[in-house]
């Protein structure tokens, strides 16, 4: 984004010099100013949403590339790739990824994808673009805070990116940064300067999410147009609302955990440290508790996985209904289950800590509450299936990804029932079973939700369509690839193969999966290449895509499709439309769809 600004600034300057007429100067000056305020420091929610999206895409490429790099190591532990040494120097001496490098890559991969892509890139994009458009508002409650939210995210990105170039490398203790490993520079290279950068970047990121989340909540609660009661809101709005609520209430707790960690790292305090001998050095710290951090971390960390998932749940519900030409089945149950998930998300964090020596009675509570989440999740799945049943389904790219999402959500959700049951978690904790579970249900599924959203709302964002053929290739390769990558990982998990290992060849118990690992790595590279195809399609279509010709290309009921094809600042040229009905009157009384703005007819049937 910023480089664009700079280069643009230069051309302006050049043109100013070539025309000495006063008029031209004035015009250019005006133009430059509007460029800055239009594309850079914009307070228009639609532009801020696009900024989040594009920054997210850039991060996704980086995070994905990291996974390709470390998959190279896992798939070909014996092979040397001289090109790696050319690129990364001492980190890949001899063409092999060093252990430090491996752990740095894994940590950055997790951090980037969880926070920068699927939190900021997903919530930031769709909350910003959709909230005012779908509830009928001119903009967010505070455009300025909204802009700050993006720029804090940008700053966080800069700091995290800078940490990649530190002499001792970026953080490398896993995205969960458990102390003491993350607190002691002596224990690991990545716990030196890189860890401070990580914490600072995260603090900025938290500020960004809070600013954004506050705005989303207060906009949804306060700025709905006339007639848009809460129960007439599209499910996307509900999902984003609950997402913001989760973020606003859980991120501050992570911040306090991070502050204490910064103290321990830099001021010699003992919040998390006790009785430590590291590399023979006896540390003075006593009385701290390493487990305390895990409580603070997972109090955010678990809601965080729902922060990632909920927007996808909402968008998929919406897209499924539009393209089945059928109302979403059980709207109130869908809202209720989102609410239940949101509440339970705060009450299950210790299921990540079953084997830390947690009190077994406490553990039992967390088992119960965790498995309780399966009930609202099951309601969602069955309601989606019923929505498809007797529909008239159009397989737009968004619809394909939504159906793919449901399949992945089922597969990944069911393995959660294994892990939430503490008895089984004793065996499965920190094995590849976990890697398979959270990638399918959180990583890939949320990505599918995000792709669905991008394909569905791209026409609203840019007034053009993405190319369909590329979209189909993108979908089918990604769906097949995701299963090929993560399905076999369950098996290595059931063999107890631990995660965060760079190499298993010296283990009697885990070295039997070499061929499988190689296969997974190969598929991962293909899947990555196809994502690049999507990115290409995305940027190409912004400029050259097929033009949208009608305001409502999908025949949807929601308000965003009542705006002009390229809505300006303020969204509706005239008055904000009034809402008369819920968003899901599809195929009612023999009419394919009835927009929310249409008053209830005299002889309309009730439901």
């Amino acid at each position: 984004m910023s480089s664009e600004t700079i280069s643009h600034g230069h051309t302006e300057e050049a043109s100013v010099h070539s025309h000495d007429s006063h008029e031209a100067h004035g015009h250019d000056h005006h133009h430059e100013e509007s460029f800055l305020s239009k594309y850079v420091f914009s307070t228009d929610h639609k532009m801020i949403g696009k900024q989040f999206l594009i920054t997210g895409i850039i991060w996704a490429i980086i995070g994905g590339l990291f996974s390709v790099l470390f998959r190279l190591q896992l798939g070909y532990p014996e092979t040397s790739f001289p090109v790696l040494e050319d690129l990364f120097g001492k980190w890949a001496a001899g063409g092999r990824i060093s252990n430090e490098f491996y752990y740095a890559l894994v940590t950055m991969h997790g951090t980037i994808l969880v926070f920068f892509v699927l939190t900021a890139g997903l919530s930031g994009t769709f909350a910003n673009i959709l909230i005012p458009l779908q509830i009928g508002a001119r903009d967010m409650a505070s455009g300025f805070m909204n802009m700050l939210s993006y720029w804090f995210f940008f700053l966080a990105s800069v700091v995290m990116f800078a940490s990649l170039f530190i002499q001792t490398g970026p953080a490398s203790g896993g995205w969960t940064i458990y102390p003491p490993l993350s607190a002691l520079g002596q224990a690991s290279e990545g716990s030196k300067l890189g860890m401070d950068f990580w914490l600072i970047s995260m603090a900025l990121f938290i500020v960004s999410s809070l600013l954004g989340g506050l705005n989303y909540i207060s906009t949804i609660l306060n700025l709905r147009t006339k007639g848009m009661s809460m129960t007439r809101m599209p499910l996307t709005m509900w999902a984003i609302f609950f997402t913001a609520l989760l973020g606003v209430l859980s991120f501050p707790v992570l911040l306090s955990g991070a502050v204490l960690l910064l103290f321990d790292r830099n001021l010699g305090t003992s919040f998390y440290l006790s009785e430590i001998v590291v590399k023979g050095e006896i540390l003075p710290n006593e009385g701290g508790s390493a487990i305390l951090f895990q409580h603070l971390f997972w109090f955010l960390g678990h809601p965080e996985v729902y922060i990632i998932l909920l927007p996808a749940l909402g968008m998929v519900s919406e897209i499924l209904s539009v393209n089945s030409r059928k109302p979403i089945f059980g709207y109130l149950a869908m809202v209720g289950s989102l609410f239940a998930i949101c509440i339970l998300a705060f009450l299950v964090w210790a299921h990540h800590m079953f084997v830390t020596g947690l009190n077994p009675f406490l553990g039992a509570f967390f088992v119960l509450l965790t498995l309780l989440i399966a009930v609202p999740s099951a309601i969602k799945v069955f309601n989606w299936l019923t929505t498809l049943w007797k529909g008239n389904i159009r397989f737009t790219p968004a619809m394909l990804f939504s159906i793919g999402f449901i399949s992945l959500f089922i597969s990944g959700g069911l393995t959660g029932i294994f892990l939430g049951n503490s008895t089984l978690d004793i065996h499965l904790h920190d094995t590849y079973f976990v890697v398979a579970h959270f990638h399918i249900v959180m990583g890939v599924a949320s990505f599918f939700g995000m792709f669905a959203g991008v394909y569905h709302w791209f026409p609203k964002m840019y007034g053009r369509f993405l190319n369909n053929t590329m979209a189909y290739i993108h979908f089918w390769v990604t769906l097949v690839g995701a299963y090929l990558i993560f399905w076999p990982m369950h098996y290595s998990g059931l063999a107890g193969m631990p995660r965060r290992y760079t190499d298993w060849s010296n283990w009697q118990s885990f070295n039997q999966f070499q061929d499988m690992n190689r296969f997974i790595s190969t598929v991962a590279m293909i899947v990555f290449a196809v994502q690049i195809l999507f990115v290409f399609n995305f940027f190409y279509s912004i400029f050259k895509g097929r033009k949208v010709t009608s305001t409502n290309p999908w025949g949807a009921n929601t308000l965003e499709w009542t705006t002009p094809i390229n809505p300006g600042h303020g969204n509706w040229p005239g008055d904000i439309p009034e809402v008369h009905r819920w968003a899901y009157d599809y195929s009612k009384d023999g009419r394919e769809f009835i927009p929310q703005t249409e008053p209830i007819g005299a002889d309309e049937s009730k439901h």
Binding site: L223, S256, L267, T269
Partner: protein
């Protein structure tokens, strides 16, 4: 925007509403901190904290500032602009004074040879520092907000008699005040 807001007249101002959500969020952070404190307290090697006298003074200061900010708001509503500016300034000064007193208070620990950080520090005192420090930063944020409002009040070109910004700032100010009272009671109770 303005049109939208006027449509919403009957409801709470969206910025005020945002502040209330933000307060909820800040509370979560301190809830995280104080529950960590409680967890730690139940463990071995916990030292009883002695609250220095200075903290009583700072508490009085911040209480007083809550009164002045309320008076400032009253003056603004009555259009007594001179009084209003004065009271605003007093509030900001009291805010700064509060922070100074807090720092002096922590200085007194050093005089008693109690380590807050570094080798030989005990988590109980480190907690006191971390939690009060975080609170201090929030007070500082309030001071900045007041200064911005004061500058706007002095700047004749943007003279505005809207009391909304100050109402929001005052609510926030009362909140950090109440937060400190809570922390203060918490520390004396839970030593």
């Amino acid at each position: 925007m303005s049109q939208v807001i006027s449509e919403q007249k009957r409801k709470i101002h969206p910025h005020k509403f945002t502040l209330w959500v933000a307060i909820g969020s800040i509370l979560m952070m301190f809830a995280g901190m104080t529950s960590a404190y409680i967890v730690k307290r139940s463990q071995a090697s916990w030292l009883m904290i002695e609250i220095p006298m200075m903290f009583w003074y700072s508490t009085a200061t911040i209480l007083a500032s809550s009164v002045t900010v309320q008076l400032a708001l009253k003056s603004l509503k009555k259009r007594e602009m001179i009084n209003y500016r004065r009271l605003l300034a007093v509030t900001a000064v009291l805010g700064v004074l509060f922070i100074v007193l807090q720092i002096v208070g922590f200085g007194q620990f050093a005089a008693q040879d109690i380590r807050l950080v570094g080798a030989g520090s005990n988590a109980s005192y480190s907690f006191l520092l971390a939690i009060s420090g975080l609170h201090g930063i929030h007070v500082l944020g309030g001071v900045v907000a007041l200064v911005v409002i004061a500058i706007r009040a002095l700047n004749s070109s943007t003279r505005s008699y809207s009391s909304v910004p100050l109402e929001i700032a005052a609510t926030y100010w009362h909140f950090v005040d109440a937060l400190w009272i809570y922390l203060f009671i918490f520390f004396t109770w839970m030593k």
